[in-house]
């Protein structure tokens, strides 16, 4: 496969995953804001501001908007063209990447992402206000999920698919780690609130932000404590949004690309991803918390960034002078 095509597919996947994550985050927060209103007397953290921290956007937001009102934040996170992480920007980028490889996608796949883009291109905050955040976001999310469905049923399980999966799961692992990092510290319990109604709602919302609430309930049962929730989101082997699961998937797909057999690592990204996966396989949440959760997540994000860089240097933007000739 052409390096350029692999690159576009990889970024298409990353931007779509990012769009989906942002939309879920907004949706959960909208629900949360409503729940909080019903808890008089509780010391509620400011409704929408923490969202900016998940996407590390507080500085940029302040440049464009005077006040962190719900309206401004929603506008910034959903429609703002100058925000490279807004829902609009992610969908726009995903679509631009798809446009550059139209010939590598099926017609239906392209039509779906194009439809997704054309709709948000013509929408603004008034449309959102008219139908409500949840309804608006759900529509967009459904449209993204429909894209995945079409893509899944149309794309041959060859290199293009593997690059898509690698991009999607690396992005997901990165997002989940950022979400936990931010939420953990905004929500770190003050002693009198542990087990309170507010605490429960908050931690439930963290899980919901990763579509993990029901899965957690079914598989882990018991209390929603910070360490149990973070354990599930970082180290669970089976839950599709956990960091470990995402890394396992990214590794499997990268190994399909490198065509390495078991226990063989032919190039830097496979080696780095294998090391991270093994690390997660053997980790225990109590050790992670003892060593500092924030430090752990920080170093995890750096490793993911290194893996990304290694993939680019191995498959996409390698030096031409000594490149092997095949065929």
């Amino acid at each position: 496969m052409l390096s350029r095509v692999a690159n576009y597919i990889y970024w298409l996947a990353r931007y779509l995953e990012r769009a989906e994550n942002i939309s879920r985050l907004i949706d959960v927060n909208a629900q949360l804001a409503i729940d909080m209103q019903s808890l008089p007397g509780e010391s509620a953290p400011a409704g929408w501001e923490p969202l900016l921290r998940v996407t590390a956007d507080e500085g940029r937001f302040a440049k464009f908007y005077p006040e962190p009102t719900a309206r401004n934040i929603l506008n910034y996170m959903i429609f703002e063209r100058r925000n490279p992480n807004s829902l609009y920007s992610c969908i726009h980028q995903a679509r631009e990447n798809a446009r550059c490889i139209r010939e590598a996608l099926s017609g239906e796949t392209w039509e779906q992402i194009n439809r997704l883009y054309l709709r948000i291109f013509h929408e603004n905050y008034d449309d959102l206000a008219r139908i409500g955040e949840s309804e608006f976001i759900n529509r967009t999310r459904s449209s993204i999920l429909l894209f995945y469905g079409i893509f899944d049923s149309m794309i041959p399980r060859k290199e293009g698919w593997f690059f898509f999966e690698v991009g999607r799961y690396l992005e997901r692992a990165d997002y989940t780690s950022r979400l936990i990092d931010v939420k953990y510290f905004t929500l770190l319990p003050e002693s009198d609130q542990v087990g309170s109604a507010l605490d429960l709602i908050q931690w439930a919302s963290v899980l919901r932000s990763c579509s993990a609430f029901e899965a957690f309930r079914k598989n882990r049962r018991g209390l929603l404590t910070p360490s149990r929730v973070t354990d599930y989101l970082i180290l669970d082997e089976f839950f599709p949004h956990s960091i470990r699961y995402s890394i396992i998937q990214a590794e499997e797909n990268l190994r399909r690309i490198s065509q390495d057999s078991d226990h063989h690592f032919s190039n830097p990204p496979v080696r780095a991803l294998g090391r991270l996966r093994a690390d997660l396989d053997y980790a225990l949440i109590k050790d992670i918390v003892a060593g500092g959760l924030h430090e752990y997540l920080d170093s995890l994000q750096l490793k993911i960034a290194d893996i990304h860089q290694a993939i680019i240097e191995t498959y996409i933007d390698y030096p031409l002078e000594n490149a092997p000739i095949r065929g």
């Binding site: 550059c100 010939e103 194009n114 031409l320 490149a323």
Partner: protein, 493 residues
């Protein structure tokens, strides 16, 4: 019921549908009946369905004048243009003849130049052509094909006679619209198209791929064909991806290609993979910064040498453009006679060359009545339409022509034929032309149909999309006597 077509008036032009004010030509009878019984709401509904289909399929070009990056569809007119089979046979013969002669002409220009030596085409005209490439003299491109694709623009004069307006020999664009128009029309009017023996156009992409594969070096068992695009910001990018997808070939940008030891390779995830044929949608000037424009970022350093060594084929070859120079056009009827000993089946439009003193004097005296074209411009740019121009524009052109006569030709204003088109309130006549696509591979092949462009502004004779033009589906009807496939027979088989 309101009759949208009732007030249709025919002028002094040839009308495709109507022989006289209320008599449709026989091959348009069924179409006429269908549109006559349609009311405005239904027509509008159909138009919305069609427009949305184009938008969703991304059959768009981007308007960069505003920073919104607005995407527009190329306006599509719902009423198809029909060409009966006898007419099409004539066109096929004429276009084949022209293609064969153009190939012989180019071969001669890059080798013996007999036609120059015999004084049919002035040496000056060849040497001053911006697209003549003296570097390629003596070079034999693969299979001695000097031109692979011609998008010949045809018009019909008021008597209905088809005439050649210009040749487009350098990978002409527009064919993707022909194929998309048909797809959309089939959805919008399935029964209408089913009621006619319309010849399918889908074959084109296979034929194009065959044409390209025919050029590959003979010893290569499985040649690798790629489409070289200037990139996603090119206005024809949609077409590039469309053709690549339909042919199942990779689309590449210059930066994906590398030349090593006079061989061309493409960068893949597993190293470098050889390339044998390049269908390029960039001009000669930008192909190779080591030979042509030094500042080109679109091209591939070393490509021209690889081409000269016969390790890679280019479609079109380097230097083809000398034959579609708008001044060279003047000589094509003589070219046909010279090489084939035949009269041109499709005549040129009457043309005045400002390089000859007599024509120059005539042009300068009659600027207000003529169409003046700059020989190196396309897309309706660099043009003066005398009768519609202001005094200042006329004087501006007068100065330019005097300063550089080689750069201009002039033609009388030709009353292009009209065809009914869906307008604001009703169906009205609008001017059209036709661009069929002629492939010159192992044999000459012509897609049955072509791009019918329509000037949607009332009274306008300029069909270019940059000047308010749109397009129509073009139906070539099968002969009742011959069993050629049609859109309906294909569905049954």
């Amino acid at each position: 019921m309101p009759d949208l077509i009732q007030s249709y008036t025919i002028d002094q032009f040839f009308d495709e549908m109507f022989a006289s004010a209320d008599t449709p030509r026989p091959h348009y009878q069924a179409l006429f009946e269908r549109f006559r019984t349609m009311d405005r709401a239904e027509l509008l509904q159909k138009q919305i369905i069609a427009d949305q289909a184009f938008l969703r399929r991304g059959v768009t070009f981007t308007v960069y004048s505003d920073d919104q990056g607005t995407e527009r569809i190329f306006p599509f007119d719902l009423i198809p243009r029909i060409i009966p089979h006898e007419e099409w046979e004539l066109l096929e013969r004429g276009l084949t003849q022209r293609m064969v002669a153009l190939n012989l002409f180019l071969q001669d220009l890059y080798h013996d130049q007999k036609i120059v030596k015999e004084g049919i085409v002035p040496r000056e005209m060849v040497q001053t052509s911006r697209h003549f490439r003296p570097e390629m003299i003596g070079f034999h491109p693969p299979r001695d094909r000097y031109v692979h694709i011609n998008g010949t623009d045809l018009i019909r004069d008021p008597s209905g006679q088809y005439q050649v307006l210009e040749d487009n020999l350098r990978t002409p664009s527009g064919v993707s619209y022909v194929l998309e128009n048909r797809q959309v029309l089939k959805r919008v009017f399935p029964n209408l198209i089913g009621a006619h023996p319309v010849r399918p156009v889908e074959q084109y992409c296979y034929d194009l791929l065959d044409t390209l594969l025919y050029l590959a070096p003979e010893h290569v068992p499985e040649p690798n064909v790629v489409l070289l695009t200037p990139g996603v910001y090119n206005s024809a990018y949609f077409e590039h991806t469309f053709l690549a997808r339909q042919m199942g070939v990779e689309i590449v940008e210059g930066s994906d290609l590398i030349v090593r030891d006079d061989r061309v390779y493409v960068r893949t995830t597993r190293g470098l993979s050889p390339v044998h044929v390049i269908y390029r949608r960039i001009d000669d000037d930008f192909l190779d910064p080591t030979v042509f424009r030094k500042d080109s970022l679109l091209g591939v350093p070393g490509l021209v040498n690889a081409y000269r060594k016969g390790n890679v084929a280019l479609c079109n070859p380097i230097g083809t453009g000398v034959a579609d120079d708008k001044a060279m056009y003047y000589y094509i009827p003589a070219v046909i006679k010279f090489y084939l000993g035949e009269e041109p089946i499709l005549p040129n439009v009457e043309t005045y060359l400002s390089t000859t003193p007599r024509d120059l004097a005539f042009i300068l005296e009659n600027l207000e009545k003529l169409v003046v074209k700059s020989v190196n411009e396309a897309g309706g740019y660099g043009m003066l339409i005398g009768p519609h121009a202001t005094k200042a524009e006329v004087e501006d052109f007068r100065g330019k022509i005097k300063a550089n006569p080689r750069n201009f030709i002039a033609q009388p204003v030709i009353g292009l034929s009209t065809c009914p088109a869906v307008c604001e309130e009703r169906i009205e006549p609008r001017h059209i032309d036709l661009r069929p696509y002629i492939l010159n591979g192992e044999s000459v092949k012509i897609m049955p149909g072509g791009l019918t462009r329509v000037a949607l502004r009332k009274g306008s004779l300029v069909v270019n999309s940059s000047q308010g033009g749109g397009s129509k589906d073009t139906w070539v009807l099968a002969s009742p006597a011959e069993p050629v496939p049609t859109e309906t027979s294909e569905a049954i088989v």
